[in-house]
């Protein structure tokens, strides 16, 4: 990388970091898929009302009997009129507390418009029953937080999943995902909503954050927590990448066919999570002339990917293929078939007959042969197995 490219890269990173910090005070913290964006064009101050002696049910009494998340448990004029004399204010009287239209509906002039700007208050995409919670003596602040310093309540006063799970722990209340989340016809969670895609974010109480480059880091979780993954994902989701035939561009960018050897050497186990070495890899390598054991009627290969033959095979030094093979046999078997190794390592071979087994193999060969002796017989005769003490 030349100096100019380095400067451009550093400047881009610095700009992105700076912009991120500058915008850090805005934006969202609640999932738009669960709580769609709202427009609440009123002036309201919870702190003042609470200080004035109101409690939650003064304005939100309907919540006590609400059984659906889509219920709008918001006060209307009758609730406000418990304290604000709207009718008197409309007649031009000066009242305290103030009750003119524009006191709560900023900018609204009834002589110009018939109705104030409308609320946009989409239903949340969860199941929720206020009544059940109220009946169980769950305080409003348990879910909505302390309101004494809140002015206008927004989506930020709606509970996050971590809050729900403080009680929904599997013993006090159900911890099943579908207790709160909507299901699709398949019985798995519904993930696509008009307001966004339900995707675990950072702070997810199960540590399931599907953040940047999750396609490269989900393996350990998927291998040990299949039941959790299956709450949202079916087999088709896994196969979109793991079927070895689709070419996920996010996973294999750039000229990946040319570049993949460097990546494969650094983390060859990852390749095997989608590609079978002895069919996908070895087959393609034989077709392109990299593999050694291709059918002789194919055009001859003329590429050399190993060090000099003397160093690679004959010299017992640091560049010997035995060391490379012991470190990463996957590299070998993504190009070679068993015959390559049998040529030298087998008893039946005419060449070196070098023992490829690890230390201590002799003491376990009898048990191995008892379980499956077919691979033994690829290199050894029955009588040799007896001689070696493996029968």
């Amino acid at each position: 990388m030349n100096r100019q490219s380095k400067v451009v890269t550093y400047v881009a990173i610095a700009l992105l970091l700076g912009a991120g910090l500058a915008l850090a005070a805005t934006g969202r913290e609640r999932s738009l898929a669960i709580y769609p964006a709202q427009t609440i064009p009123i002036r309201f101050n919870h702190a003042v009302h609470l200080e004035g002696g109101a409690d939650c049910t003064t304005c939100h009494d309907s919540a006590r009997k609400s059984t659906k998340a889509s219920d709008r448990n918001l006060p209307k004029h009758p609730e406000c009129e418990q304290c604000h004399d709207i009718k008197a204010a409309q007649r031009g009287k000066k009242v305290d507390p103030p009750a003119t239209c524009d006191y709560c509906h900023p900018g609204f002039d009834p002589s110009v418009h018939r109705i104030p700007p409308p609320f946009e208050f989409p239903s949340p995409n969860v199941k929720f029953n206020h009544k059940v919670h109220v009946d169980r003596k769950v305080e409003c602040t348990t879910c909505h937080g302390e309101m004494k310093e809140v002015t206008l309540a927004t989506r930020m006063q709606l509970p996050k999943m971590a809050t729900c799970l403080e009680c929904h722990d599997g013993s006090s209340a159900s911890a099943a995902c579908t207790t709160c989340h909507l299901e699709g016809p398949s019985g798995r969670l519904q993930l696509n909503f008009a307001s966004g895609i339900l995707r675990p974010m950072q702070g997810n109480p199960f540590g399931l954050d599907h953040g940047p480059r999750y396609e490269f880091s989900h393996g350990s979780r998927a291998k040990t927590d299949r039941l959790m993954c299956s709450q949202c994902h079916g087999e088709s989701d896994c196969q979109k990448c793991h079927d070895s035939l689709q070419k996920p561009l996010a996973v294999h960018p750039n000229d990946f066919i040319t570049l993949h050897p460097v990546q494969a050497r650094a983390e060859s186990t990852r390749c095997a999570s989608c590609h079978r070495l002895q069919s996908f890899c070895a087959g393609c390598h034989e077709r392109t002339g990299v593999g050694l054991d291709a059918d002789p009627s194919l055009r001859a290969r003329n590429v050399k990917v190993h060090p000099d033959y003397e160093l690679w095979v004959n010299t017992l030094g640091p560049q010997h293929h035995g060391i490379a093979a012991s470190r990463d046999i996957n590299q070998c078997i993504s190009c070679h078939r068993e015959e390559t190794c049998l040529a030298c390592h087998s008893d039946f071979g005419s060449r070196r007959q070098i023992n490829p087994h690890p230390d201590g193999f002799a003491s376990m060969c009898k048990s191995l042969a008892a379980k499956n002796d077919r691979p033994c017989l690829k290199c050894h005769s029955q009588s040799k197995l007896v001689t070696l003490g493996c029968r």
Binding site: G207, D255, I333
Partner: protein
């Protein structure tokens, strides 16, 4: 007469009730999920060629997936079926050439999965071709899986069937045991000495797990799996999986795979993650070994595991940006029989290091219709050196009808094994998609890569997704 009139009256009342009474409507839902993917690009071959006159092999591949799923087939019962059939053809690969290479097919139809599922209370059953993922591997089998999970969180799972293999009718080799050819039919037909007819035999596989699910935040499983090929062991392993998490904060997952044939630990994975609202820290440690069939000679070679450690921190301030930084280190261990002369080479100061270390950092932006991400990764050590810079950006129209995504990537690599593979590789992708209706989307992706090695490489992808509920 009175009796007859009474019967008539009762019949009429029954008929009126049957016609007018509220009946339970069937709730069945059927989902058709189809994807067509066409790929057109070229692969550089190393046969009868040199860098200035490369042999380019065309890849003109068309892959068609057809998934048909039915849910709640009996009203009120969780009875469902899910299927996926994959048909593909590589029009750039002559059939005659494919027939000479094991594992390469010019055309094929694979039934990826097709099973019926039934769930009632604590019991779940799945019958048919299905995949199974756990700490050992990703496998597919034709058979039955049963799970019983009591409400107190203790359960058992058992499964058994035939391992899906490439040589079977509508079978794919993707999830079959590795380390041998997927089939030896070709070599047997040619009379090649040493061809193994056993590879094409059916392979029974069965296993069981004892489960613990969310008891005071703890979940886990102890499992066993065995596969038999022509009456002899092909795989026999036991596993332990454990997870702990009680809401935001500490989450731990771990797993171990113990090979009962060669009696050694094959794989270990552990992930510890600490989540708070604005940041997360995670440590992941892995010990991995190739999962090979006991039919393969390589299974018995002196090979060693690979260890990897990943440390990652994520920071998500309120706002559209999030950031992460990650450190990576890995080591291939070496295992040489001490009785061989080669063992002394392990003490040679010139022995190449088997350690690879590096890290990555990135930022992602998502707000309203726009998204973007920048990732920078660097690794050096065993295998070579590589620096990757990836910049992506995308836009989705407000009505979700159009999407436009782009990606620029820069890779500066030095391959530790192949000296001719080095330099800076530039790549760019543009992906455009259009939503024809609420259930059909078409996408076109083009990719151009420029580098000193292949000079120019152009790829075109076309995708059509249809997902509709009947």
């Amino acid at each position: 007469m009175t009796g007859t009139r009474g019967v008539r009256t009762a019949s009429l009342a029954a008929a009126i009730w049957a016609v007018t009474s509220p009946s339970k409507a069937p709730a069945s839902a059927f989902l058709v999920d189809a994807r067509t993917e066409a790929q057109a690009y070229q692969i550089r071959a190393y046969r009868d060629s040199d860098p200035d006159h490369p042999t380019l092999l065309p890849r003109r591949r068309i892959v068609q997936y057809l998934g048909v799923n039915g849910y709640e087939l009996i009203t009120g019962e969780d009875l469902a079926f899910e299927t996926s059939l994959r048909v593909f053809a590589d029009l750039g690969l002559p059939r005659g050439e494919a027939a000479k290479i094991d594992g390469v097919r010019a055309e094929q139809a694979d039934l990826m999965y097709a099973y019926a599922r039934f769930r009632t209370g604590p019991i779940e059953a799945q019958l048919g071709r299905q995949t199974y993922v756990d700490i050992i591997d990703y496998m597919a089998f034709d058979g039955l899986r049963l799970r019983y999970l009591h409400k107190i969180g203790i359960g058992v799972e058992a499964y058994g069937g035939l391992w899906v293999k490439g040589g079977m009718l509508l079978g794919s080799s993707v999830y079959q045991p590795d380390g041998t050819r997927e089939s030896d039919k070709r070599r047997i037909s040619l009379g090649v000495q040493g061809a193994n007819p056993v590879l094409d035999e059916i392979e029974p596989v069965y296993g069981a797990k004892l489960l613990v699910e969310n008891i005071k935040g703890f979940s886990g499983a102890v499992g066993y799996r065995k596969a038999l090929l022509s009456g002899k062991s092909d795989l026999e392993r036991t596993t332990v999986e454990a997870r702990y998490g009680r809401g935001r904060g500490l989450n731990v997952t771990a797993g171990m795979d113990y090979d009962l044939i060669i009696t050694q630990v094959a794989q270990v994975r552990g992930l510890v993650r600490w989540d708070q609202a604005k940041y997360a820290l995670s440590v992941e440690a892995l010990r991995t070994s190739p999962v090979l069939s006991a039919e393969s000679i390589w299974y018995y070679f002196a090979t060693a595991p690979r260890d990897e450690l990943r440390l990652r921190a994520d920071y998500t301030p309120v706002g559209p940006f999030r950031y992460y930084v990650q450190g990576l280190g890995s080591q291939y261990h070496t295992n040489i029989n001490s009785t061989l002369g080669l063992a002394s080479a392990l003490r040679d100061p010139a022995l190449p290091s088997s350690i690879n270390a590096g890290g990555s950092a990135g930022a992602a932006y998502r707000e309203a219709s726009f998204r973007s991400a920048l990732d920078v990764s660097y690794r050096k050590g065993y295998g070579g050196r590589q620096l990757w810079v990836d910049l992506t950006g995308g836009y989705t129209s407000g009505d979700d009808r159009y999407t436009l995504d782009g990606r620029f990537s820069l890779a500066n690599v030095v391959d530790g094994f192949n000296p001719s593979l080095q330099g800076t590789f530039y790549g760019a992708q543009v992906w455009v998609s259009y939503l024809f209706s609420h259930s059909a989307r078409g996408s076109l992706a083009i990719e151009e890569n420029i580098n000193d090695f292949t000079r120019s490489d152009f790829k075109v992808f076309f995708l059509f997704d249809l997902r509709t509920m009947l």
